[in-house]
């Protein structure tokens, strides 16, 4: 993989240039959390590109909470021209989530010949500049799902902070083009710089292992969840669930939606709306029968989806370890604890030290 060095000054110029030529989005701090915001003159000096993931998931750039997907029986030709998007400060867990969504929206395994034209268009028109994580929070657990806090693939460009500037890696043709466009901002990387990057990466990896020490189980989450339908753990934890659906909405890999119809003027339109499998009506059929009438079943379903259904279909866990569901849950439910208790119930070794 090609890589370049970007000094602190050049980095600022680079971001400024990006914000002029593209619709640029980057993490900013609001309250306790980081959010993606459109970069403008006011916030350009307040970006946090390399701390940790934002709280809202990157999926909203590709599958917004609500979108018109078709018009019938007359169609108008309103077309919005939008600048190409650049998302800066994407994290490895976000990139892993896109892998899942790519499979759902245009992969062979989900829906064969049916591809979602809106998702594909958005993916094509968006440039992803990711970065290594420098400051994970206590809910981050990518290392528990066999991932790492720094990207190795799936990005167009990746930034690694090394005090004097950034090492920037080129991961795709789109990334290459961007480098070419601003060629004079970049210089070459020396051995010292690479060493610094490796040291940082190792340090953050170790930090995550420490944060998650008390949750680590010797069996993988896939093995724990499989055949656990009857576990009492689901009942126990779902007692504090208030069925808000927040964990589904905030989850970067939850992709479930509902199509709904509206009339607008003379036209009829079909919309797509995010949906949540934690909500009672999610699986109910027209006649009223519901395959998951009890909350504990729906609660279990979310983890079954992540660690059983997705692996069975595409051999990937649909959990990236981003920990967003832990951060937002009003019932203070921590899925690491849920999974740890499954392990205890199955008598699998768990490290319980605090």
């Amino acid at each position: 993989m090609k890589e370049f060095f970007l000094s602190k000054d050049s980095y600022l110029k680079f971001v400024e240039n990006l914000s002029c030529e593209f619709s640029l989005y980057a993490p900013v701090q609001k309250g306790d959390f980081l959010f993606y915001d459109k970069v403008n003159k006011e916030n350009i000096d307040k970006l946090f590109v390399d701390l940790r993931r934002t709280i809202h998931p990157i999926k909203s750039f590709f599958i917004p909470p609500q979108r018109r997907v078709s018009e019938y029986f007359i169609s108008s030709s309103e077309k919005r021209e939008e600048k190409k998007k650049v998302i800066l400060g994407v994290k490895n867990c976000d990139l892993n989530a896109l892998k899942i969504l790519d499979n759902v929206y245009f992969g062979e395994e989900f829906g064969r010949e049916y591809k979602d034209p809106y998702y594909m268009e958005a993916r094509k028109e968006t440039i992803l500049i990711s970065s290594d994580c420098m400051d994970p929070d206590e809910n981050c657990f990518c290392t528990l799902v066999q991932s790492k806090p720094f990207p190795e693939e799936g990005f167009d460009l990746n930034l690694s902070n090394i005090e004097e500037g950034f090492i920037i890696q080129v991961g795709s043709e789109k990334g290459e083009e961007l480098i070419e466009a601003f060629r004079d901002l970049f210089s070459s990387v020396n051995k010292d710089m690479s060493k610094k990057r490796e040291k940082n990466r190792e340090k953050i990896f170790k930090l995550l292992e420490k944060i998650n020490k008390k949750f680590k189980t010797s069996s993988s989450y896939r093995e724990l969840v499989r055949d656990s339908y009857d576990s009492s753990v689901w009942k126990k934890y779902s007692e504090s669930c208030v069925e808000c659906g927040g964990c589904n909405q905030i989850c970067p890999t939850c992709r479930c939606f509902l199509l709904s119809d509206k009339k607008r003027g003379e036209k009829y339109e079909k919309y797509y709306l995010w949906d949540s499998c934690l909500l009672a009506g999610f699986a109910r059929v027209a006649g009223g029968a519901n395959p998951r009438p009890y909350l504990f079943q729906r609660f279990a379903n979310r983890l079954f989806c992540k660690f059983f259904f997705f692996p069975e279909n595409i051999n990937l866990d649909a959990c990236t370890g981003c920990g967003r569901c832990i951060s937002v849950c009003p019932g203070k439910i921590d899925m690491r604890k849920v999974l740890r208790d499954l392990a205890i119930e199955k008598r699998v070794t768990v490290s319980l030290e605090k």
Partner: protein, 277 residues
């Protein structure tokens, strides 16, 4: 690029009242529309919403399409208020079909309950299109009362005459009335003595469609009679939304019903908890 969410403009040509709660809609899509028995379509009621339905007409007639629909909820109620000349939208067809080519030279047992007869009618048209491929077809059907029998004329009379030596019918109602001379009892009772008609039960194929509770008891009965799990074909009802494997609504264990079904053999489903709920 092809937009899989775009419905095809479709005119309602005719509305047939089958029972007090069930109507058949004869539809004419603007574009050519082909399907195979077992597959489903998404039917859009303009401005109201969309729902999955299985065509009940013959796949070999593709200028028109029929769907038989029971009034149970918001969408089906609006549909029941529509009349000839009104417009709806359709998308599809989606999902798998009955694997007829694998059933050649086998005895076939069809078991339907209530409005579950709809896809079975389409299947019946397909089977009888190549009637000589199947040594024997037994058609069991159960409805609540004689009034609730769908396609009355066909199933009680026309088909019985037309396929006299090839197909035998066992029609039952849970509750008869003074005019009813046929069987009385739930559909599983019509399966009693089936081994007198079906020579090789272990080789025979059974196809079941109806309300979940009926499918459950029928499946148990069929297993009891000696049917192999891999020869019991079930049409699963789920609340499909996208129909194209994306929205997650039709998930059934590791399967998506819109992609891997709606037709499943019992063998594929037996290990999934709560399949009948």
């Amino acid at each position: 690029m092809n937009n899989p969410y775009q419905p095809i403009k479709t005119e309602i040509l005719q509305v047939i009242q089958e029972t007090p709660q069930i109507k058949t809609f004869v539809l004419k899509p603007e574009n050519r529309f082909e399907f195979r028995a077992g597959q489903f379509i998404q039917l859009t009621i303009p401005g109201i919403g969309e729902g999955p339905f299985t065509p009940s007409s013959s796949p070999y007639k593709n200028e028109k399409l029929e769907v038989t629909i029971m009034q149970v909820g918001r969408i089906t109620s609006s549909l029941h208020n529509m009349k000839e000349g009104d417009l709806v939208g359709i998308r599809g067809p989606y999902g798998n079909r009955y694997p007829l080519e694998r059933w050649k030279n086998k005895e076939i047992l069809i078991v339907g309950g209530g409005v579950g007869l709809a896809p079975l009618r389409s299947l019946f048209f397909s089977l009888t299109h190549y009637i000589n491929d199947y040594p024997r077809i037994v058609f069991c059907y159960g409805a609540k009362t004689p009034e609730d029998i769908v396609y009355k004329e066909s199933i009680l009379d026309k088909w019985q005459k037309e396929f006299k030596n090839k197909v035998s019918f066992r029609i039952t109602v849970d509750q008869g009335d003074e005019k009813w001379k046929g069987r009385v009892g739930v559909v599983t009772t019509a399966l009693e003595g089936i081994n007198e008609e079906i020579k090789k039960i272990t080789e025979s194929v059974s196809v079941v469609c109806g309300p979940p509770i009926m499918m459950k008891f029928t499946t148990l009965k069929l297993l009891d009679l000696g049917y192999k799990p891999e020869n019991i074909y079930l049409s699963m009802e789920k609340n499909m939304s996208c129909g194209i494997g994306k929205c997650g609504h039709c998930q059934l264990g590791k399967y998506l019903v819109c992609r891997d079904g709606p037709v499943f053999t019992y063998e594929k489903l037996r290990d999934i908890p709560q399949i009948w709920d």
